[in-house]
Amino acid sequence: MRASVVVFPGSNCDRDIARTLAAVTGRPTAMVWHADTDLPESDLIVLPGGFSYGDYLRSGAMAAHSPVVRAVVERAKAGVAVLGVCNGFQVLTEAGLLPGALMRNALLKYVCRDVTLSVERNDTIFTKGYEERKPIMIPIAHKDGCYFADEDALDRVEGEGRVAFRYTGDNPNGSRRNIAGVYSENLRVLGLMPHPERLADPALGGTDGEMLFKSLFVAFNR
């Protein structure tokens, strides 16, 4: 699997996720600087967590208009897999690749802790390795993670099977319908607030996040 991680000024989980990807794939991860518009050939493009361009105005809003994201949108339309984690999810919604928006947490505070998620379907390239319905534990770390879309849009996303993960314990941020992650129509673009790369190493207290990367690895090495 050839994976590329986009680095915006202000990205700060780029190294973490590149490290996890490298551990799973056994090959180095390409790092793509935000000013570059020619992305390397990739099976997977990752928009990492952090505070792209300072996350001023709205989280992800500035990055969504960067040249590299325009290029990512093109690739996504051509069917390339795209994963947005946390700030990456915010960027993908702002760029219109995923529906909805991520608003300030209901309790107005940043929150960093483990949450339990349900894997809503385990037949996508991102989730094939997960057991159906078995809750997984993954950390969140964000201030703007309250998933919002109007009722019609929510019905549509749910109806099309595009909810990827839901919070199963306390809803940590007020997200509508407990949504923690959503897919694009073709199920090849995934955005989620939790950080799977943060629990992908037994030394850090868990490995539930690792399966997401392993699933992708298997999908692209058939």
């Binding site: 809003a61 500035m62 928006a101 608003m103 209901a106 107005l108 109007d150």
Partner: protein, 81 residues
């Protein structure tokens, strides 16, 4: 010219910040606060001197960057800087 832009949450979008302000005002002893809605205020100073062109530009700025149509509305006034 100068544009004074207000970005507000659409009706029906929950506004926890507004809610928190209501509570804080109450605990400060302000009774009779019926509702608070929170938003953003942005002043953009433009080199453009033609009002029509400035208006079109600001409209586009609001649409493309300064507001998110999923949850926000915007309105603005223009004036000579």
């Amino acid at each position: 010219m100068k544009a004074r832009i207000k970005v507000t949450l659409k009706n029906g979008v929950l506004d926890p910040q507004g809610r928190a302000i209501v509570n804080a005002l109450e605990s400060l002893g302000f009774n009779g606060v019926k509702d608070v809605r929170s938003g953003k205020y942005i002043e953009v100073t433009l080199a453009e001197t033609d009002p029509a062109k400035a208006r079109a530009d600001v409209e586009r700025m609001c649409r493309e960057l300064l507001s998110n149509p999923v949850m926000e509305n915007f309105q603005f006034e223009l004036e000579e800087a």
